[in-house]
């Protein structure tokens, strides 16, 4: 590796106060996962290569040398790999099947069948996907299930894939959706329906 390529973009963009900013970032991630469809704002991190602030915060809050990351082609860049190595120490892996976290746009992350979905005895050993979105709004697909009082709505890239994922419960993948400084989450427990299917 050429040291001259270690640009400012790689060295900067981390938390200035890691302990506190991680706590804030996690609180948002936890509330998003606990209440699917809720959209929360985070701040404090900026990875290079077109990664959103929210996805950057998620990488810093959740990833470390124990969590292999797979970068989908949409987001795989030399700068981002170095940023992840410098700020988190997480290994970037070659295939999605090795990953604990995966980052990319939806088109680049699918198909979903290559990721780890956990085992019957350890359903927690499954991948979490961080899906970069154009926009996040409380419209579109209808969500019901744990964490949702009645029903919630969220712009999802599609419905069929999440429905198939729900059918695997208690196995399956969990998702964070990120856009700018906003994030939302969709655990495997959420039932997703097309708006037209709900009266």
């Amino acid at each position: 590796m050429d040291d001259a390529v270690m640009t400012d973009a790689v060295m900067t963009g981390g938390f200035s106060d890691p302990s506190i900013q991680s706590a804030w970032g996690f609180r948002a991630a936890m509330m998003a996962m606990a209440r699917p469809g809720d959209i929360l704002a985070v701040s404090g991190a900026q990875a290079p290569g077109g990664v959103s602030v929210a996805a950057s915060v998620m990488l810093l809050v959740l990833c470390d040398p124990e969590t292999p990351i797979w970068l989908a082609p949409s987001h795989d860049s030399a700068d981002l790999r170095r940023w992840i190595a410098f700020h988190t120490g997480a290994p970037v892996v070659a295939t999605r099947g090795e990953a604990v976290f995966a980052l990319g746009s939806w088109d680049s992350l699918v198909p979903l069948d290559g990721y780890r979905i956990g085992t019957a005895e350890y359903p927690d050993r499954s991948a979490t996907l961080i899906v970069e979105m154009g926009a996040l709004q409380g419209v579109g697909a209808v969500l019901t299930g744990p964490g949702i009082a009645d029903r919630a709505r969220l712009t999802l890239p599609e419905v069929a894939a999440f429905r198939a994922n729900r059918a695997l419960f208690p196995l399956g993948l969990d998702f964070f959706f990120t856009s700018g400084d906003k994030l939302a989450a969709l655990p495997r427990s959420t039932v997703v329906a097309e708006p037209a299917e709900v009266v």
């Binding site: 706590a23 005895e121 927690d124 208690p170």
Partner: protein, 289 residues
Amino acid sequence: MSDYNFAYLDEQTKRMIRRAILKALAVPGYQVPFASREMPMPYGWGTGGVQVSAACLVPEDRLKVIDQGADDTTNAVSIRRFFERTAGVATTGRTAEATLIQTRHRIPEEPLTRDQILVYQVPIPEPLRFLEPRETETRKMHSLEEYGLVHVKLYEDIARHGQIATSYAYPVKVEGRYVMDPSPIPKFDNPKLESAAVQLFGAGREQRIYALPPHCKVVSLDFEDHPFEATKADHACDLCGSGTSYLDEVIVDDAGGRMFVCSDTDYCEGRRDAGHRGRLAAINQEDAA
């Protein structure tokens, strides 16, 4: 503040716990293994709850800690001081003012709101443990959804005592899938497990974290002809007069005299401040004077 890292634990430990919490929320009622750390307090004193709280706290939080409903008992006081010192967070005794509540064996009487987090200290997280001691077997039973043994246990209660005698740590089924130990809360509190708050369970010695997202379906196991009943002592609180709160029985003399008081001290004080009086409230005030 102090020389401690924020909320005592190092960052990598907190990340590990945080990842476990996210998976626990994604699979409600399933016990996620985590690499529990040694804490500066003995096992059995809430090391699991403390680690979960440490991973969740933000500097703006207002922390409440209760032990069997009381804010002023040793366990509650020492954990509250621990976080005052290591996280610099504000603390309170008032349920409504708290953003994060760590609890040992009670759920506050006052309904919790969507912005609150309830962290339980759990001694034995495995609801099947006393029926099957082998972890390899209980894990298989959870994966196969094989919960017949729990119903046998409840049935044996009925055969022996004429009713379901299990009165605390009463097993529940979460979202129709996992049978979960709600920690040793009285079964009176079981209906409150369906809450608007986020509920997290931490077992330090047993190295497990599990969770209930808000509005999660939580059903106490029972039989059609012996339905679940949330029971309490058949009295009113002798200090505040509440007829609906969970009560502690207190022996007051050598002649068999006793009184019943709310186990939730904040709820009881709130009612007395609002002018409610129980049977012995007057006597108690004289004592204080």
